[in-house]
């Protein structure tokens, strides 16, 4: 008695994964057709990258197509001009010796000779001005106020 090999079953459907949700679609559906059908519900699909894979469910091996969103940014087209209006803030930390001197200047314990020897004026000139600081909350508020843009715009980024 011989055992015949189990014939490979080709399922009539394949699985499409979008945003963590799985859909069963005809195996013959092309990528373009899938994009067209899914776009009303998942706009990102139009620009997402399809990744092919396999998944076995109840002994049946299905072909999977996962649409992986491209990294984009909300309001990307308006973010560039917004960022351009925000002054640069240098965050390189001052040397500890300078910090110490500045602290002593504020405490009134630093002498003029010490300040001149350390060229404190140059260090002070290199510090960012308080008025240039923008809080995270302010930045987020400005970003939230931007209108959403089409995914295509974001993709152009």
């Amino acid at each position: 008695m011989t055992t015949e090999p189990t014939p490979t079953v080709t399922p009539p459907t394949k699985i499409v994964i979008v945003s963590g949700q799985e859909f069963s679609v005809p195996a013959t559906a092309t990528i373009d057709e899938l994009r067209q059908h899914l776009a009303p519900m998942f706009p990102d699909v139009t620009t997402a990258t399809p990744t092919h894979g396999k998944k076995t469910i109840d002994g049946v091996e299905y072909v999977t197509i996962e649409f992986v969103k491209r990294a984009g940014t909300k309001g990307a087209s308006e973010l560039v001009p917004l960022l351009a209006t925000i002054p640069a803030l240098r965050l390189s930390p001052p040397r500890s010796a300078v910090l110490d001197l500045l602290s002593r200047v504020r405490n009134g314990t630093c002498t003029i000779a010490e300040a001149l020897d350390a060229d404190l004026a140059a260090s002070i000139a290199a510090l960012p001005e308080s008025s240039l600081r923008i809080s995270g909350a302010t930045l987020c508020a400005q970003l939230d106020s931007l209108s959403p843009v089409a995914a295509a715009d974001a993709a152009a980024w």
């Binding site: 965050l91 314990t109 004026a121």
Partner: protein, 352 residues
């Protein structure tokens, strides 16, 4: 199309931060006013160390930094600069009272009584920029005093102003057609009649015949300085001074012009120049003061004996102009006349 399986709840991710919080010191910022005040004060401390190292070591180096102290440092520097680098225009610079007799006085005043916030404001406001730009004392004849547009502001003019400008008006009239013309002959005549209280002198100025346009001016001044008419030493220098053509900015610029200067500095100086540079500037300034003194003395004499002296002056200048008329140097009518080489040469001749 239906979902075969709903997504499991959002994937639990490890707690992590994209941005590591910076050390507070790394985010150190400074208020613009603080920055400007500190930098201004420290700049003056550095200038004291550079130009007056002895004073710096004795009175400044060990002082603790505060806005009041730094303002005092600026005052001390300006007081010393006023007496040793370049005489300044006023006894007050940018709100700071100069103390030429005791440069430590501003340190005492500012440190002892001056409120720190006021000191910070003084060191950081727009006027602080002027602290670095000397407004030197200058001796030039003030055009603004005799200009017709401004005449009403000074009416009635002070006697000293009339005395000063009667001689200037006479010289301006004489040279009104030459390349050194300050005002046109008609303007001079009008001013003389309006401003010079002595009618005979005013009429004489208004009717004096101007020199010819092509008169060689430097040669003329040289002639008048080398062979001066009786009682009128340095007449050539006085003429060049009155016409503002000595080439010395301290003699050719008036105080009002220096006070009004904005971006286009007439005398472009800053305290960071070398000591040698200031020595040269101070020489120029002192020479200009001497020329102004010579002018004032002659102007005073003209006012006392107007008819006699005006006649003598006009005749002397006309004679000298006749003597040098063949001088054929092209630059003679346009270049300024600096009498110093002549004075040096005369000094050499006399000491031989």
């Amino acid at each position: 199309m239906r979902p075969t399986r709903f997504a499991v709840a959002r994937r639990r991710s490890r707690r992590s931060r994209v941005v590591t919080p910076a050390d507070a010191s790394a985010l150190l910022t400074i208020d613009a006013t603080d920055r400007k005040a500190l930098c201004t004060g420290l700049a003056f401390a550095a200038l004291l160390g550079r130009h007056f190292p002895g004073f710096y070591q004795e009175h400044i180096a060990a002082r603790k930094i505060s806005y009041s102290t730094l303002l005092g440092v600026a005052g001390a520097f300006l007081s010393l600069a006023h007496t040793q680098l370049l005489a300044l225009d006023a006894d007050r610079v940018g709100g700071l009272l100069l103390a030429p007799k005791d440069p430590t006085e501003p340190l005492k005043i500012c440190g002892g009584y001056y409120d720190s916030s006021y000191a910070k404001n003084d060191l950081s406001n727009a006027a602080a920029a002027w602290l670095f730009t000397p407004r030197p004392r200058v001796y030039g004849l003030g055009m603004e005093v005799v200009a017709p547009d401004n005449a009403h502001r000074h009416w009635p003019p002070k006697p000293s102003a009339i005395e000063r400008h009667a001689l200037a008006l006479l010289i301006w009239r004489l040279f009104s057609d030459t390349r050194w013309s300050v005002l046109g002959d008609a303007q001079v005549a009008e001013l003389a009649m309006a401003r010079v209280g002595k009618i005979d002198l005013a009429r004489q100025i208004a009717t004096t015949r101007p020199l010819l346009r092509e008169t060689p001016l430097r040669a003329l001044c040289l002639q008048l300085d080398a062979d001066p008419p009786a009682g009128m030493n340095q007449l050539g220098t006085i003429i060049a001074y009155a016409c503002r053509r000595t080439g010395n900015a301290y003699a050719d610029t008036s105080q009002a012009e220096v006070r009004q200067q904005q971006d286009n500095l007439i005398i472009d100086l800053d305290w960071h120049r070398s000591a040698a540079h200031f020595a040269r500037e101070r020489d120029d300034q002192q020479v200009a003061g001497k020329w102004a003194g010579a002018y004032s003395r002659l102007a005073g004499r003209l006012w006392k004996t107007p008819a006699l002296l005006a006649d003598q002056l006009i005749v002397a200048v006309a004679a000298a102009a006749l003597a040098v008329r063949e001088h054929d140097d092209d630059t003679d009518t346009t270049s300024p006349y600096d009498p110093r080489p002549l004075i040096n040469r005369l000094h050499e001749v006399r000491t031989r």
